[in-house]
Amino acid sequence: MSSQSRPDLPGTYVFDGPTSLRGHNMNKLFMSLRTENARTQFRADEAGYCRAFGLSEAQTSAVLGRDWQSMLDLGGSIFYIYKLAMMDGLSMQYLGGVFTGMSEADFKAAMLAGGRTDV
C-alpha cells in the first residue's frame, strides 16, 4: 500500500490527507461559526468572510450558493459543513436528502423504514 492508499468506495467520502489539505481553510471557516459573533460577521458579508479565511473561488461559490455537495467535493468534512447547515437551521437529514437526491421528508421516511440497507 502506498502512503495515500485509501478505500475507494462508491458514494462514500473518505476524509484523507489530500482532502483535508484541500478543504483546510473552508473547514476552518465552518469551525469558526460556533460563536454568535462570528455568525453575525459571516451573515453581514459572506464573500468577505470567505476571503478572510482564504477560500478558493470554487469553495467561495459553494459556500455562498449553499452547494452542499460541492462543499464535500472541495474538501469539506461533513462534521464541519454541518456547522453552516445548523446556522441555516437545516438538519443532517436535510443534508442526507441533498446528497441522495431526496427531499428531507423522503429521506426521513427512508430512515424510519429501517435506513438505506441496499446501498
Binding site: 485509501r6 478505500p7 468506495l9 462508491p10 458514494g11 462514500t12 467520502y13 473518505v14 476524509f15 484523507d16 490527507g17 483535508s20 483546510h24 473547514n27 476552518k28 465552518f30 469551525m31 461559526l33 460556533r34 464535500l72 468534512s77 461533513i78 462534521f79 464541519y80 459543513i81 454541518y82 456547522k83 445548523m86 446556522m87 443532517m92 437529514q93 443534508l95 442526507g96 446528497f99 441522495t100 429521506f107 427512508a110 430512515m111 424510519l112 429501517g114 435506513g115 438505506r116 440497507t117 446501498v119
Partner: protein, 285 residues
Amino acid sequence: MSEVIWGLATSHVPSIGAAMDRGMTADPVWAPLFEGYRPAREWLAEHTPDVAILVYNDHANGVDLDVVPTFAIGTAERYRVADEGFGRRPVPDVVGDPEFSFHLLQNLMDEGFDLTVFSELDVDHGFTVPLSVWTPEPGDAWPCPVIPIMVNVIRYPQPTAARCYALGQALGRAIAGYGGARTVGILGTGGMSHQLAGARAGFINPTFDHMFLDAIEKEPQKLAALSREDYIRQAGSEGIELIMWLVMRGAMNAEVRKVHSAYHVPASNTAAGLALFDNRTTRPS
C-alpha cells in the same frame, strides 16, 4: 488494585441527547429507543463505580483539524460541556480524576502507547450523550468522576481496530495496577452503522451490526482483525466509530457477562446500539 466492574458500549447520536433535553423521550419515534435503554440504566444505577473512563471522539468542538491526536487522554480536574454552536447541553460539567489520569498515561506510555495529553478539554455530544444514556437525570453532577480517552475516527487514516483493541488491553492492565481498591466503569462509544455524506448517506447495515453486537461479547479478536476498509464498507464512513468499542472491550476480561443489549433504527441517521457487560465473572490473570 482497581477493577473494571462493567463496560457500557453505546451510540452517541446528538439527537438522542436532544430528545432527552427537550422531553421527547415518550414520543412514538423515540420511545422504543429509550425503552431499550431501561434495563441497562436500572442495572447501572445499582452499580456506580468510583470512577469511569469514557472512550470517545470529538466532532469539531473540542479540537479542530489543526491538530488531530490519534489517541489522547484528559488529565484535567474538570471538563466543560462544549457549546457546539447554539448553547451547551443542559447537563453538568464533567469532574475528572487527574491522579488516575496521570497513572494511566504513565503506564500506557510505558507500554508503547504515546498518548497526546489534554490539560484542558471541552467535551461534546460524543461524550455527554453516552453519559446521558447511562444516567438520564444526573441532577447537579454525574455519578462519578470520568476520564476522557479520545480517539481519532474522523480523519483518515484512523487507528486500526487491532490497535484500539491493544490499547484497551494495556488500559486494562494499567487500571488493574492502580492502588486503592477502586471500582471502574468503562464506556466505548459511537456507531453503529451509519453514513452521513455522499450518495450512500443513510446507509444502515443491520446484519453487520448484529454480528458486531454478538462478537464484541464473545469474539472481539474477530472485530479487531477487520480493516478500516471493512468498517467503512460494512458499517458506513461514520460506522468506523465502532473501533472505539474495542478499546472498552480490550480493557475487560476474556469472558464477560452480558447484562443487556439493545438495537434500534433509526436515531436520526444512525443505527443506535447499546451493550452492557458485567466484568466480574472472572478475575484478571
